[in-house]
């Protein structure tokens, strides 16, 4: 079920404050965050966020098209590393 419109989009308070402060001062710096659940607002456009994926911080440059998505959608949490080779260990199990 979608989120109630009454509540408005969810953004971590701390993150929103930082973006607003940077917009006022015109400062452009990467913002490191773990708040993958925060919705990308129009104010975020042009900023670069370092979004944690559980292991590392992935740089996400926000464009207009990304508004309405959440930061985590752009910081993949899984890496596919092709199907495994038969190592000594797996062979000896048979």
């Amino acid at each position: 079920m979608a989120r109630s419109i009454k509540k408005g989009p969810y953004v971590e308070d701390k993150l929103l404050r930082r973006v607003e402060r940077m917009n006022q001062t015109g400062e452009r710096r990467q913002i490191r965050t773990s708040s993958r659940r925060s919705m990308i607002l129009p104010e975020f456009v042009g900023h670069t966020f370092l979004v944690h994926n559980g292991k590392a911080f992935i740089a996400v440059f926000v464009t207009e098209n990304m508004v309405g998505h959440r930061l985590g959608e752009f910081s993949p949490t899984r890496a596919f590393r092709r199907h495994g080779a038969a190592t000594d260990k797996t062979v000896s199990l048979k």
Binding site: N65, E73, F74, R82, H83, G84, A86
Partner: protein, 133 residues
């Protein structure tokens, strides 16, 4: 068979069902359109007067995005997801399910026919597979 909007040729069925042959019209919209046009839903599509057909065409064009336009909108939305490199876009690109379904088994609709992926054996074979891919 009558034609609505040039291309759609719904069959010998009650109008509310015949309209569903149009891409973008389902049960709910079929009913809504018939009600709006003030036509008895039990009328067979064949029995429509020319006047009624033009009326339906007008409603369809004004209030609904159907057929080509709708298909274009859908593929544009998918293209947008892919271009911003979102998780959903990546899933579309790889042809895997987009909405969090399991892929250990099933997901054949998205993945297509089964393709067995073998293990890459030995150092030489692994190097070959790397350069090949």
């Amino acid at each position: 068979m009558p034609r609505v909007l040039g291309i759609e040729i719904p069959g010998k069925k009650r109008l509310e069902y015949a309209l569903r042959y149009i891409y973008g019209i389902g049960p709910a919209r079929g009913r809504a359109i018939v009600a709006k046009a003030g036509i008895d839903p039990a009328t067979k599509a064949d029995d429509l007067t020319g006047e009624q057909i033009t009326q339906l065409a007008a409603i369809l064009q004004q209030d609904y995005r159907i057929e080509g336009d709708l298909r274009r909108e859908v593929s544009q939305n998918i293209r947008r997801l892919m271009s911003v490199a979102s998780y959903r876009g990546m899933r579309h690109r790889r042809g895997l399910p987009v909405r969090g379904q399991r892929t250990k088994t099933n997901a054949r609709t998205r993945k297509g026919p089964r393709r067995t992926v073998g293990a890459v054996r030995g150092k030489a074979a692994r190097a070959a597979a790397k350069t090949g891919a």
